[in-house]
Amino acid sequence: MSTLVPTAVVTGGSRGIGRSIAETLGKAGFQVFLTYVSKPQEAEAVAASIVAAGGKAKAFALQVGDSAAVSAFFQDHIKDQVQLSVLVNNAGITKDGFLIRMKDEDYAAVIDINLKGAFYCLREAAKIMSKQRTGSIVNITSVVGQMGNAGQANYCSAKAGLIGLTKSAAKELASRNVTVNAVAPGFIETDMTTALPEAVREEYLSHIPLKRFGACKDIANAVAFLASENATYITGQVLAVNGGMYC
């Protein structure tokens, strides 16, 4: 085992928070396997930036909502080939809309990727990490999974579901020295939030005690902490990184 390279898998690692997590874990010394869906150039650019910073990284196309594809990915690239030190379930999509007009497929698509996708990856990682008797899993949930958000019934359902998944997996895997935690970002400065109308931004800011949006790096630092040797006694927790909102 000791000859295998300690590796962190980051799903949805090509953009936004996932990109920052991938780069931060790369700097922390892990080989980073980041997954993407649609934009290989972006994912390859992240991998290249990690390599340029002296780390190791590879990008893989993976639909996390596809159970068979997830199994194949872990079988082909992870099992017996690397030491699976960290899994970060970050991949996610939104399909916002008021629930009275929300289509079945828009509800299902968000659950399939954000919640079932995390489950599929976690299940595969759990098999490997249990055998290793070490590993940490971090699920990226959201402040809206804790407090709800108008127009995001599907997304909030999935993010709240991730918290239950985190706590159950933590209890199941504790005897194998595998920790499972969640990080719940608040409003983070990303393409999504910068595109919001000024009035909406002001409304969000009025609820944040620190009076500013978070940065992707704030989330990445929290993930890196939970994935590190400094956090081995922390499991089943939801670490809110949200500027002081209490949920």
Binding site: K127, S130, K131, E172, S175, R176
Partner: protein, 77 residues
Amino acid sequence: MSVEARVKKIIMDQLGVSEDAVKSDASFVEDLGADSLDLTELIMAMEEEFGVEIEDEQAQKILKVCDAVNFIESSAK
């Protein structure tokens, strides 16, 4: 390798026990120190090794080394 030898090897690998300990009438939990997660891993390892599917109902009856060997031998027929 016989079915019995293959099953015993899986048990040794999964539970980290010696060959001497894996007696035919040894109980996984009481004699070999397995917990419930170990039992699940053991069942999955046998499924993989022998290409069989072991339903939960059947798995719950596999409590001793001989139960596992008997199950695999009978399902192979």
